[in-house]
Symmetry: C2
Subunit: 257 residues, 2 copies
Amino acid sequence: MTSTPEPETATRTTKGERTKARILDASLELFMDLGFEKTTMRKVAERADVSVGNAYYYFESKEHLVQGFYGRSDEDHHVACAPILATETSFKRRLEKVLEAKLDTSEPYHHFSGLLFKTAADPASPLNPFSAESQPVRDHSVALMREVVEGSDIKVHKDLADDLPDLLWLYMMGVILFWIHDTSTGRARTRRLVAHTTGLVTQLIRLSGLPLMGPLRRRAKRLLVDLRAAPDEEIVAGASDGGNSRAVDTTSGPDER
Amino acid sequence: MTSTPEPETATRTTKGERTKARILDASLELFMDLGFEKTTMRKVAERADVSVGNAYYYFESKEHLVQGFYGRSDEDHHVACAPILATETSFKRRLEKVLEAKLDTSEPYHHFSGLLFKTAADPASPLNPFSAESQPVRDHSVALMREVVEGSDIKVHKDLADDLPDLLWLYMMGVILFWIHDTSTGRARTRRLVAHTTGLVTQLIRLSGLPLMGPLRRRAKRLLVDLRAAPDEEIVAGASDGGNSRAVDTTSGPDER
DNA sequence: GTCTATAACCGGATAGAC
DNA sequence: GTCTATCCGGTTATAGAC
């Protein structure tokens, strides 16, 4: 609409952008140092050399500060996966390495990702992995899983082929859920879970191709079709919940990064 | 120390017990009316005719109040299941009806269980279904699932028999997770999910008995043994997290049986 | 109109007197 | 067991600076 003539020579970032970045950086540092709970907005503001009110000018809430992690971690994961997908051909090992990469890239955030998950689990939150708002990230991850399958040596029965990437994504969500609760040193338990279940999954995919499995396959297929077909039919009434003013956008802003 | 001579004839409940019950009742009413967020401890205290401090004398935190729901809903569920378990013998139908009963008895809480779940998903929360605090309820539900299996016509391969109740409990958790996100009228989508997946699960259990499945069974078995064997090895350093006093065990406990 | 700061408000939680 | 007074931190109202 308006002209917004962008000072062509000047510092590429506006003052506001720089302030926003400073606040985000400060919060990231503090989250890493102290975890989510012990990081107060007052400390964030102080470290970023702004007032508390100013921090809220740029970020709707403390939780919104955390959103930066989401994108960053997903980005890291994809980068870490590139060499794996380029060289490995065994399905089992592709899957396993991709999941291990997920754990590795997420590790720095483990001590507060419980919190992240907490908001992500809220059906009303835009961070929710099933929400419309997170569809881009979700699609991105599903695509990764499709690559895992397609670049591999495994043969997938055609009944299953279309849905497998989605199912693998779901499986990864499950692994992450486990990981979040895992306090063993080096996430040893989650690593074991991955080592075991990747084999299990691979075997299942192979077995699912057997003629004997026809009825099971078809039944599963019907389930998926059925669930996908029916839209979410929002129930309107429910004003009873936490009436946060929190507008719809939240994520909308071009999150730079 | 003191004598505390318990008036032997008087009202069977002590004053403390009555106060505690009053606070819990007040909170339940308010949660139903206002949801979790809009229910404040001050309102709870006021309705229960006690001071805020007194409410905290009986309940460690606001979240602990919510646990009352867990127990009550679980109780309702068990009651609703009794006639099913007494009469139905088909495994598939036992499972399906038990899950449907779960949905029915949980329905009154659906409008705020999203928020409930939000805290429940936090590994640090006492509401977390995997936490030590919820172990009694968890054990209770697992036992229910054992009954579903044992009173039914299904034949379970002995490799699987011990673990099946736990796995079914996990399956139920998954259904609830879906239900929480389900805004379709009458939770139609969740009901469809149940209708489909109970058949799927039943079929899987049957198929798992085939000789062909030996390797898969053994692999799965190894996974479960392996994960259970290793205790949670609390990482000591991490003072960074919410510093809850929460004890270490969670999973380690000799899972009864 | 974009940015920044100060001073509250509100609600969960706690200390300590009675 | 029960209360009052207070802390603490997320969040907001609002006034003003650039």
